[in-house]
Point group: C2
Chain length 578, copies 2
């Protein structure tokens, strides 16, 4: 491809919507463009990289015997009522877009368990047809409240989702292992270090599931990893161990809490900073964090955890949203305290760690713009139920050995679920005739990875200040061929054209910078676009019969004879792609 | 692929939703499944065929220098207001699905002129970046009132749409010609006979445009073709020549129309048949067809044309829909007559051919379940405006020579438009700096073909009673390998396995029927699935060291030595795919 013909406009500055470095480079390098918040166009370079990821995924999934198909984005609302998941629409866990059209009420699939069980399940009549795993590369839609991190959290995304159908639980487990093995090979080919961690199943359901996490400083998730054994789990899924018994905590002194005016400080960090300026010294751990949620029965509930820990919501619970706060004016967002709740219809639950240290706490005052300190358990507030409500954190004890957990910031590259009978037992089409001729539900698994998300993760993990550093398998082109001063030197022009032709003939994907711009602009664009091989043809080199080859990621330079450069590069590149 | 593992359930009977033969076979052969009306899943065989079409399209479009990209399905409603096309939403010409979500009001793109002008246009700053043609293979959504003909008219479809950007009109024309040439090569590779016809531009706009029509007995469209010259045009776009002057028509006799009770006969054909049973002999040509429409100013209007001709609507007019009839109870669907309209606010327009024959006509009586005969122009009704309101038809005179037009039933395989400045002159991003440094709008073209629609057309054009007859380039597999009696004969099993392995090693795509079912079932499925080569391995053949090869479409049979069969077939097949 000649760069003079390519739809490509590189940008000097990072755009406003680029909140992470990899995404800023994808935008600056002309790979993607935002249409509106959370909705992106892949320009030709971005499309090529995306397509390479898709091809790798297809090869590896085909390799374990999965069969590709294509389900529609539109699905009838009734299917989601059948599974019961329409009840979760609008929540963060299942932010489905829906629409009313001539054909009825449709859901724009954020995931395809319902459609797949209904459609593929209906094709399966007998145990002889099992096991079966199908997959698709297809566009998903999510009504995200806050799209962010570029392609990491979008409203429309290209996803590869797979679904396995099995006759019994051990067979489901075998299909699951095969899918996980294929996933790990995919991540390897994408040059991503991925840690499978035990996770909560959330809105998808099922018993066993794993998130495939890439440790990353820009991650929006965290997982905990043991320093001693190989335990790794999502913060919310990790089983925390109750604190050691230790010395009994002292009882509450006489007296009552002290009020502090904290105007416009709804977060703990803000209150700590504000009070510090007022001369009052507290740490986040001195605070009692009060999180308003609806429990699984939709009862308004406050969860109490120490201010330096994250609250962990049990399955089926969810955070208060705008409408919930409006319905409960007695719970003032940012200023909630646990005092005076008995008999009000708002439950108070607390992590066991709060019981180990009954006071003094700093917490919300239940009026706007004020907090209180010197708050004590039993004296000032009571707890309706104790439990494990704290997410695992840095320094916690490993639940499976005596090691210490560390908290790893990370992004999710994929998620796999052993669904069991969750969908097959409730949806039409979910059953088959087993060897005894009895109609029983199939054991299912599902497996999802975002293609556009993987592109973003690769960009995030492989870049430097100057630009992207694509792994060869993902790079839109293998070689960035740069002619220097071809306008002034017919010899340079001729040598570069010949090298371009030779590389193309040998099947090497090459972008040829034939533009009439300065060497500085060409070098900057080559660094920004970030293909693995930069090949330079200039006057001095041509005089000596050589081209300069730089491997961008390794930072290594060497010279190759012009006459042999194409063949040598083709051999070197194809050897890496095997 | 082993058939015992393939997700495939063939059906003995055509499903209820199969209104055309090709689609019935796609469903019976396990290629596609309907989720709801107009929404389909591609099962593995269907996906493979679809993917082959996509690959051919990509090769040919890349071959003329187009660049692939990927735009989102979600687009902001504001973009469609900017182009002015939101005014057409809900009409048959632009049945867009829209939805309200957290990010605002979105349109699910039925086409991408707006998004492409906005996004790609914004990347183009200078004439140096032109010409440029981009394309995408992407999912489109259409809020069809009546999905039908299987994959031909659906609510969700995979489409390839391309957009060209040029500096001036001659350059636009050159880009257009290049795209048309690529399209014709694509149809050739898909074994489709396609006629480019001049068409109306409809909701897309622009001056010059062509439909690529496949003559087909199941077509939902018609075009006219001259028997003498190469003139071909869409029925609505064809310029009809006014009828020869001839003898002046006689004036109306005294008297008045005669009423006929025609209960439950809203169509002309039905009325003709009903009255024939009553002993009254009329032909369709005796009827005055009254078509209720809204003209470009949304004035309710009746178009009068002879009953044996189709009405042609001028650009911007549209047929009455349910709501329009409800708003105008004086226009009774199926029983509209032109009498008594003066001063009622309903305009009456008529084709000039009606003026050539003022009476007697049969027409609607303006009351339910009755028609009238003996109706005369001027005596019984008046016309507010005369024009050319008849679509071209069988036997009309060719507008470009003295030949005769014939009407060809057909399906549309693709549509191309020279858009000119329609979008670039009104949308942000539509301009560039020309060589003089002046900001001017780009000259655009757009080109669309449905991938799933092409699959349906190929199936429709290539089948017999027993099943599909895929062209090699589209067939999911090249070879259908059938083992006969492998369960009883280890020699057959061994020979078939060896042939399967040899073919696979040589890169031949082969589906191996290794199932333990009767020869009859295997033959019927092979015929139904319709791959070009059926290779049979049976006991007698193995004893003689041969396999039987049938070329399904040609109906030719031959024997090949088992030891050489794989190599011979591989050579023969790859030669055809070059």
């Amino acid at each position: 491809m000649r760069m003079s013909k390519l739809l490509l406009r590189t940008l000097r500055d990072a755009p406003a919507d680029a909140d992470v470095e990899g995404h800023a480079l994808l935008v600056r390098g002309g790979y993607v463009r935002r249409l509106v918040s959370g909705v992106y166009t892949f320009l030709p370079l971005g499309w090529r990289a995306l397509h390479k990821i898709e091809s790798i995924v297809r090869q590896e999934l085909d390799g374990v015997g999965m069969q590709e198909m294509l389900m529609p984005a539109l699905s009838p609302y009734e299917l989601w009522e059948e599974s019961g998941r329409s009840a979760f629409f609008g929540q963060d866990a299942l932010p489905a877009m829906t629409l009313q059209a001539r054909g009825g009420r449709f859901v724009l699939g954020p995931t395809h368990e319902e459609v797949c069980t209904h459609t593929v399940g209906a094709e399966i009549e007998s145990y002889r047809q099992l096991p079966l795993t199908v997959y698709q590369v297809q566009t998903k839609f999510r009504d995200e409240a806050r799209p962010r991190y570029g392609l990491l959290r979008t409203r429309e995304l290209v996803m590869c989702d797979a679904y396995s159908f099995d006759a019994d639980k051990p067979a489901m487990s075998a299909s699951y292992q095969a899918a996980v093995a294929a996933y790990l090979r995919i991540f390897g080919r994408l040059s991503l270090e991925v840690v499978p961690v035990v996770a909560q199943s959330g809105a998808i359901g099922g018993d066993v599931n794993h998130e495939f996490m890439v440790p990353s400083v820009v991650g929006e998730d965290h997982f905990v990893r043991c320093s001693t054994c190989d335990y790794a789990a999502n913060v919310e899924a990790a089983e925390t161990r109750p604190p050691d018994a230790g010395t009994p905590a002292p009882g509450a002194p006489p007296g009552s809490p002290v009020a502090h005016e904290t105007p416009g400080c709804p977060g703990i960090a803000g209150v700590v900073a504000f009070l510090a300026e007022e001369g009052e010294s507290f740490e986040a751990a001195d605070f009692l964090k009060c999180v308003a949620v609806l429990d699984a029965d939709a009862t308004p509930t406050i969860i109490l955890v120490p201010g330096d820990r994250e609250a962990r919501l049990p399955h089926g619970w969810r955070l208060f949203e705008e409408a919930d706060f409006a319905a409960h004016p007695e719970l003032i967002r940012g200023y909630i305290g646990p005092m005076g709740r008995r008999g009000t219809g708002v439950r108070v639950v607390a992590d066991v760690s709060v019981g180990g240290r009954p006071g003094p706490w700093v917490t919300g005052s239940n009026r706007v713009d004020a907090h209180v300190s010197g708050v004590w358990l039993e004296r000032d507030f009571t707890v309706d139920e104790w439990g494990s409500f704290v997410g695992a954190g840095e320094g916690d004890r490993c639940p499976s050995c005596d090691g210490t957990l560390s908290l790893v910031r990370s992004v999710e590259a994929a998620h796999t679920f052993q669904l069991g009978l969750k969908y097959s037992s409730v949806m039409t089409g979910g059953t088959f005739l087993n060897e005894e001729g009895t109609e029983v539900p199939m054991w299912m698994g599902c497996y999802g990875m975002g293609m556009s998300r993987l592109l973003a993760i690769v960009a995030e993990e492989h870049h430097d200040e100057a630009g992207l550093l694509w792994p060869l398998a993902v790079s839109p082109y293998a070689v960035h061929l740069v002619a220097l001063g071809a306008g002034r030197s017919p010899a340079v022009a001729e040598a570069t054209e010949a090298l371009y032709a030779a590389l193309s003939t040998l099947g090497v994907e090459v972008l040829y910078d034939d533009r009439d711009v300065s060497p500085g602009v060409k070098f900057a664009d080559a660094d920004l676009l970030g293909f693995p091989y930069r090949v330079l043809v200039g006057g001095k080199g041509v005089a000596r019969g050589v081209a300069e080859v730089r491997q961008r990621a390794e930072g290594s330079d060497r010279e190759l004879p012009l006459a042999e450069a194409a063949a040598l590069l083709a051999t070197e590149i194809s050897a890496q792609l095997l």
